[in-house]
């Protein structure tokens, strides 16, 4: 069956586009996110491509021993080493990414002890370990957004399913579940996250799991309300009289209507996910040490008041990301608001 937008969906899309701030934010965010997905090609301590002795090398994808380029050591070539560079330049050439540092590359040729202020080599300066801040921002943005998106996706799937079951069946199930939600949402989330993050050694997936424990609740109420309303609609009764199973009725007849209000919430859940990850990182309970993270950058900024460029860079990236998401969310919310449509 051909995909056809209903007139209402088309009107909402037009309303979303008419909000220029939201529209521009959407594209800017998508562009930045797609760019950051290829962060290895933007900021790396290896060349993207090497042409050496009539042969092509892709160091980003594959490790080559130094001996490959006529060097002495059988270990992986260190391309930042001037001697390795000279060896390669002798019989070929290299294509470097715009930023010649990875998030964990230590710049050993600093003119002064780190952190160093912005310069031609380190455009945003270096942090207190001598790592390039621009590279860390690019990788940090990627991991934050990926984390937020995964969290949003999984928690909305869980939240929608829970809300759907709760609202559709109602009665005692609804009553018990609602009480459980009230207790669960009353827990002090950040403290629990900190405690849980202390029990295990947190990595990306652990943090995701721990945060999921709480973030799935944000959609439940909304979806539950939609299903409570939806289950008594006459076309739902008609589907029941037809012999549709409960699962099919929920999926085909009620869910599409419930999704409309859900979609407007997604950008805000994303914002919440990114902020929580950043705060955990800031407090030192987040991603493992050495990972590129905006929270860790902010913590460094706090610890190094004499190097304002660290904090400023972290702040600008985080603030910019959140602002873009909030603008998108606002535009989506207004586009779906029936009262705004004449």
């Amino acid at each position: 069956m051909a995909f056809r937008l209903s007139p209402l969906a088309r009107r909402r899309w037009a309303a979303f586009r008419a909000n220029r701030r939201g529209w521009v934010s959407l594209w800017l965010f998508v562009a930045l996110f797609v760019l950051s997905l290829g962060a290895e090609f933007l900021a790396n301590d290896r060349p993207i491509f090497i042409w050496y002795a009539e042969k092509a090398y892709w160091p980003v994808f594959q490790d080559y021993p130094e001996t490959e380029f006529g060097g002495f050591f059988p270990t992986t070539a260190v391309y930042t080493d001037p001697e390795v560079q000279a060896l390669i330049e002798e019989q070929g050439w290299m294509l470097w990414p715009p930023v010649r540092f990875r998030f964990d590359t230590l710049n050993k040729n600093l003119s002064s002890p780190p952190p160093t202020p912005p310069s031609a080599t380190n455009l945003l300066g270096t942090d207190d370990h001598g790592r390039d801040i621009l590279a860390r921002c690019i990788y940090g943005f990627r991991i934050s957004v990926l984390f937020g998106l995964t969290l949003t996706l999984i928690s909305s799937v869980i939240g929608v399913a829970a809300g759907a079951v709760q609202g559709y069946y109602g009665g005692v199930l609804d009553l018990c579940f609602q009480r459980f939600l009230e207790v669960w949402s009353g827990l002090p989330v950040l403290f629990l996250l900190i405690i849980l993050a202390n029990i295990v050694t947190p990595n990306f997936w652990w943090l995701l799991g721990i945060m999921l424990l709480f973030s799935w609740m944000s959609l439940v109420d909304l979806v539950r309300a939609e299903f409570l309303r939806g289950r008594n609609l006459e076309y739902v009764r008609a589907a029941k009289a037809l012999g549709r199973t409960d699962a099919a009725i929920m999926r085909i007849h009620i869910l599409p209507n419930a999704m409309v209000s859900t979609i407007t919430y997604l950008p805000f859940i994303l914002v919440g996910g990114i902020t929580t990850l950043t705060s955990l990182d800031f407090l030192g309970f987040g991603l493992p040490p050495g990972s590129p993270s905006l929270g860790e950058l902010l913590a460094q900024g706090k610890n190094n008041p004499n190097a304002p460029w660290i904090g400023l860079a972290g702040f600008c990236v985080l603030g910019g990301t959140l602002a873009l998401l909030v603008f998108m969310g606002e535009a989506a919310r207004d586009a779906f608001d029936p009262r705004r449509q004449r």
């Binding site: 069956m1 006459e234 076309y235 009764r237 012999g243 209507n257």
Partner: protein, 338 residues
Amino acid sequence: MIMSTALVSIRNVVKHFDISGGLLEQLRFSGGRPTLKRTVVHALNDVSLDVQQGETLAVVGESGCGKSTLARAVVCLHQLSSGEIHYRDQRIDHLPPARLLPFRTKLQMIFQDPYASLNPRMTVQRILEEPLRLHHRAMTPAQIAERVAAVMEQVGVRASWARQYPHEFSGGQRQRISIARALIVDPECIVADEPISALDVSIQAQILNLMMDLQESRALTYLFISHDLNVVRRIATRVAVMYLGSLCELATARQLFESPRHPYTQALLSAIPALGRGRRGRIRLSGELSTPIDLPRGCVFHPRCPHAYEPCRVDTPAPQTLDTGTVVACHAVRDGRI
């Protein structure tokens, strides 16, 4: 109980709705002690009806008398509190959903509000395809499309409009689509829950005529829920009159309209507006309609009945068949007082 050739047989059906809400709302203080009190709506109290093959059995009564509950109970949308629904002498009300499926194609329902009974996010095509995809899984897409087009033509909606959404249609056309959805699985019996009361008067006649034509061409049986007595007089073979969840009278349309026996039927019929009669001859009922939460003892109609006497306040009258074939549940009729 007569083992009859009835197509659908409703036997001693009772349906209660518990509306007492949460624990705190149930809490009452009586005589200084806290007690839990459940609030129950008695929507249907021991209703028995047989729908014969090929007839139009109309169920009439005022708002809240349980007509719609009865309709939904027949198509197994409600779990019954007690009683049985039989289809061709097979009990269906207790079947699990999967075993009920074959009966779903035989017993379909048309809903009251055509603005609410069609999913606004589906095209007419998808709305009509859904029953086929569910019940006739072997059908090819071409067969499905053909069947949809045929049924649309039959109910008087152009097949070329199948790609439209329900909101692009008028109320009458929507009700035609709603009828088409019921017809598409080729049912034997259609339960119509006030199918025309949400429509303009000018459209009502069209839909009624459509339903009567379809009955003739497809040998359908209707259980027709209505509160419009003029409509009932026009299409019904037999009429059942309900009051507060109980059956008062069941008779052929002709007998019911010419010589109503139950006091409530008499009052109801005298309320039909007619030209030139004025207000003379109308039976005015006094008192309020009792709520189905606190049903009166005895006959549910006795607080408003002009003929009520002692037994009415004590015993619930059992339906009894008169020699005319009319079934009446009334002490006064039984004792020959009316």
